[in-house]
Subunit: 336 residues, 2 copies
DNA sequence: TCTCAGCGAGAAAGCGGTTTCTCAGCAAAG
DNA sequence: CTTTGCTGAGAAACCGCTTTCTCGCTGAGA
């Protein structure tokens, strides 16, 4: 917009090349065959004038932008960052750009933000983990084409890309079970978070599947501090027989481990700890944190693939959930 | 673009309300006084039809689109994430959106990416820590209005917002000096990084200012792994009398500490360690990592303030550098 | 009562491209 | 040699909105 080369328009190029605007446009888009001499002249004029086509004008006539928007509740969340990065690179490869709309955790603003963003862009990637399902349904219908990230939406006419949290939790429980643990605690995430609900479902499934296992749910959170502060409750549970903890995510697990070390609780000797997300730091914690790995960048790329199909008028592709991969490290060990 | 309400245009609203397009436009923009009856009719028509103005058309006529772009080498870097978040929120408050252009560390593409981005947006925020100064100078001139982040650019006609790394390093050295350290090592960052050069300048300044101090420079990097792998060199330096290490950033410091613990080196007993950036994890490391805190979100907000001035036709405001704040924690201690 | 501002609404001209439509020119077919 | 069918370039319409221009109308001043 409004670059320094103000007033260098296609008309100027046409005039300088001594041809019509239409011809210039044809040369630019290369859709039709054009007299080589004209092509020459036009290209010469373009470089001489330093002409670049106006994106806005093009958008107006085409009715599209080559821009998509990603609506996220909090850009600070490593998960969204990773997805954004993967999305942004994949989209760039197809000539699309990504707009970021951070809703600052204001669930009430998400709807307006998404609508506004949709209005400037050709499509939306929506991360709204806490929006009530019904509202989300309505919103999704209004802003299509859209891809929903990381939350289930039963029966919705929308592609979904996410993580199979329930499955991940089950796999982690199995891992712990294999190590002999029978009394486990789940340090839960934010109450309204859809992915926390999924994890809880995994917890329930695991308990149902393995009659010998008990899993207590302890209120936690999603950040380092939350884990740190939950250490007291966790330690209390440990005293009552819990031998392993599954944290909502790695940040919580890391915060928890920090505090436990201060309290003199040995990991994994006194207590095994498992996280979720496999953030880079997990490998560098002491002890190295066992975690369920999630392919953030890959999710972003997959989101773009689905969105591209949608933009091209293709069908709503099936939901895809990535199964987290267990990265067994030192923070989980055999029960004493 | 191309929303479901295809064909609902200002003309439809005008027709339905029985007035001219111009009147609808006036009602929409509220710049001129309009007959209340017309306002009524227009608003009724708008809601009845579910009309929303076309952003593209507006952009075309105004020559701007209320969007800015941030060009970053790597979205995974916590520094850029924080800045992006701050920028995005500040800009949103003024009705601007932010486009992300991740150049995937390809210095060669940065120029093209920036130009392309500039072409779709009203202004650019440029993070190009490794682009040669001269090229950057030329680029900056071409894509104005632009704000450069986190690197010096002597004599350039462009606002710069960044961190006073040199000063930060000096402050950290002073801190160590106060603890009795005289032989210090600087575990350096990526060779071509402008901010690493700044830090090295700080190192040189410190040595010049404090005759009693020696600072060895050890090659490192910018990520957790780099710190982990540099531990051997650091330990060797320690054996030769180095009592404190300043890491390029916190990630490097954390990686280093992890490995040192494995090697049986006590921190801060055997060796003091200081980081840079004050990432959230710093407070949760064992021992808690002493770091130089950088106001990431604040930088983003400040960048927006400068850019807004520029967009409004204001002057190129002065460079502003944030002085990092020492967060003295447990990883630095008195020399033995 | 007549003239002149002033106000406000409609008509129309862009903004900078793309795309349809029209028509000249030329080669092949009759 | 004339007619037909293409090819390709230019003219003009159009995308949807803003803004200038024009003009009718009203109210104040003479």
């Amino acid at each position: 917009m409004s670059e320094r080369n103000r007033a260098v328009t296609i008309a100027d190029v046409a005039a300088r090349a001594g041809v019509s605007q239409a011809s210039v446009s044809r040369v630019l888009n290369g859709k039709q065959s054009v007299d080589p001499a004209i092509v020459q002249a036009v290209q010469a004029a373009i470089t001489a004038l330093g002409y670049t086509p106006s994106v806005a004008a093009r958008s107006l006539v085409h009715g599209r932008n080559d821009t998509i928007a990603m609506v996220v509740p909090d850009l600070e969340n490593p998960l969204f960052q990773g997805i954004l990065k993967g999305l942004s690179r994949a989209a760039a490869a197809d000539g699309y750009r990504v707009l970021v709309a951070d809703t600052a955790e204001q669930v009430d603003e998400e709807e307006a933000t998404a609508l506004e963003a949709r209005h400037r862009c050709d499509a939306i990637v929506l991360c709204a983990p806490r929006m009530p399902e019904e509202r989300l349904q309505r919103l999704v219908a209004r802003i299509a084409p859209v891809v929903v990230v990381n939350r289930p939406l039963p029966g919705a006419q929308v592609p979904i890309v996410g993580v199979d949290y329930a499955r991940g939790i089950r796999d982690l429980v199995d891992h712990l079970h294999g190590l002999g643990h029978r009394r486990i605690a789940y340090l839960s995430g934010p109450e309204l978070s859809a992915s926390n609900a999924e994890r809880l479902r995994g917890v329930a499934d695991a308990v149902a599947a393995e009659p010998g296992i008990t899993i207590d749910v302890i209120p936690g959170g999603s950040r380092l501090d939350d884990g740190y502060e939950a250490a007291a409750s966790v330690d209390a549970a440990r005293r009552e027989g819990v031998t392993a903890v599954i944290a909502f995510n790695d940040l919580v697990a890391l915060g928890l481990m920090t505090r436990l070390r201060e309290l003199g609780v040995e990991v994994p000797g006194d207590l095994s700890i498992g996280g979720f997300d496999d953030v880079p730091m997990a490998r560098f914690a002491t002890p190295r944190l066992t975690s369920m790995s999630v392919p953030r960048g890959e999710i972003g790329a997959q989101v773009w693939a689905r969105l591209r199909t949608l933009i091209a008028g293709g069908p709503i592709e099936h939901t895809v959930l990535y199964r987290p991969r267990l990265e067994a490290r030192e923070s989980t060990g055999p029960v004493r």
